[in-house]
């Protein structure tokens, strides 16, 4: 029952991770760039939501506003930072995204400080119990919202004209240009959508776990899991998010206590620290040894 309880919490958090991961894959698909700053956008989305509530706005309105601001910020980043780097190697662009992450952390540190902040409630407080499993409204709402948005986003990507242009750009840049698609505008759209997804995801995570600079690590923790998902597969990103959520819940709830108990009995070590951040990388190495293209990825990876 305890494991089931962990799994439920893991799935709820994992669905939020899925939102954030979708953004990383979206950008990677159409530009070949791994956006290491995604966790930074999540953190910033949460801080802006918090900032807007602290000047008196109702939390839901603050959240919606923050997501809009994040969209604008995503577009601006692409236009001001990424576009001038059009001719730079992809690796240099990825380093730039790391720079963005560091900048965001510095800005948030300056304005809001290093301490954990109690995040305003986005949803009514309370919980239900279902055959012994305990679920707060917070978790249920975060899960439902994320699940609906993930599904909505996938539908958007597959059935709308903008989605079609996104898929064209992801598939073949040269062909997209030749049929008159503004490829760089499509990349801007991807950054906008990605930052909005991250902003919402960040606020949801903060509403579950509280808010601090640590939230920005999520991008780095999610990265190996997204590689496992195949990097170019949006459904893969959703599965990756869920796997990460469950993995962390189980690591926190079962693995870490077990290992620490073992270590305490046999050594002088008392704590293994944040093991949950290491486990995804360990898993990455294991799976990539067996399937270098990831679980959902296709063999040939195209770089334009």
């Amino acid at each position: 029952m305890f494991v089931l309880q962990l799994a439920v919490a893991g799935i709820a958090i994992g669905s939020v991770y899925a939102l954030i991961a979708l953004g990383i894959v979206l950008i990677y698909k159409c530009s070949g760039v791994v956006n290491f700053a995604q966790g930074g956008y999540a953190m910033l989305g949460a801080f802006i939501t918090y900032g807007l509530t602290s000047v008196g706005l109702p939390s839901v309105i603050a959240l919606v506003l923050a997501i809009a601001v994040m969209g604008g910020l995503g577009a601006l980043t692409q236009i001001l930072v990424l576009r001038p780097m059009l001719k730079a190697p992809v690796v240099a662009v990825m380093m730039a995204t790391l720079g963005i992450l560091i900048t965001f952390r510095a800005v948030c540190l300056l304005i809001w400080g290093p301490d954990q902040i109690g995040f305003p409630a986005l949803f009514p407080i309370g919980a239900i119990e279902l055959s012994g499993i305990f679920m707060t409204y917070n978790y249920i709402a975060a899960f439902l919202l994320s699940a609906i948005l993930c599904a909505g986003f996938l539908a958007f990507y597959h059935y709308t004209p903008i989605g079609l242009m996104q898929r064209c750009t992801a598939d073949n840049t040269r062909a997209a240009l030749a049929v008159g698609i503004h490829v760089s505008n499509q990349v801007t759209i991807a950054w906008t959508a990605s930052a909005m997804l991250a902003g919402l995801g960040g606020a949801l995570l903060a509403s579950l776990n509280g808010l601090s600079l640590g939230l920005s690590n999520i991008g780095l923790v999610a990265f190996p899991v997204i590689v496992l998902g195949g990097m170019t597969s949006l459904p893969g990103a959703v599965v990756a998010g869920l796997v990460l959520g469950i993995l962390q819940a189980v690591t926190d709830g079962v693995l870490t206590p077990a290992i620490e108990r073992f270590l305490r009995e046999h050594t002088d070590i008392y704590s293994v620290g944040t093991l949950q951040q290491v486990i995804p990388y360990a898993l990455l190495v294991l799976v990539l040894l067996v399937r270098p293209q990831g679980i959902f990825g296709t063999k040939e990876s195209e770089r334009v």
Binding site: L164, R167, D171
Partner: protein, 237 residues
Amino acid sequence: MLDVSGLSVRYDSVIAALEGIDFEVGEGRIVALLGPNGAGKSTLLKAIAGMLPFEQGEIASGKAVFDGVLLNGKHPAAITRSGIALVQDGRQCFRNLSVGENLKAASFRHSKGAEDRLQLVLTYFPILEEFYARPAGVLSGGQLQMLVIGMALMIQPRLLMLDEPSLGLSPVMVQSVFEIVERLHQDLGMTVVVAEQTVPRLMEIADDVYVLSRGHSVLHAPPDEIDEDRLQSLYLS
């Protein structure tokens, strides 16, 4: 209709791929652009279509004018809207998307009359109707060539430029590609530029021939003055 004069192109700011090219295409004509591998045929077509900036290339001097409008510096999207379609080498299409989505994507920026054009493309290329819902990646080389020409038609071009459409195709497929070009020219009055390395068949339908070698224009002549021997000696010069 298309008037290229004194065009020089560089890649990576140093590699000179074209030097002072003059290239003229009259309305309603079929113009053959011949030259050995590396002569600069693709570079010329990409310069006209505005694709160079995306491959670290740039027009160093000279200009390309289409119906009185300067093309230099325009985005490929704007150039397609003014009526020029480039079918690039390597049959560039969206292989993970269905054939239907490929055609739809091509007309997305040119939506007026797209339904009618789609019907037209499907009558020209019945194979595309058959494979309409399948991913483009499953098509054979010849079928892909049909698809990319079909996509170019969805742009509703007045000038259609084909870059080595016969490369890697069986003689039978090559034959049918050129039949299609001829039909497009006759039925729709389409102006066509075809870049190839050597194709006797192309000489039968071309009105005008340009030969490039190492970035220079080495001959401009009517097709009946060109034969395989002359071409070979030009290529070697």
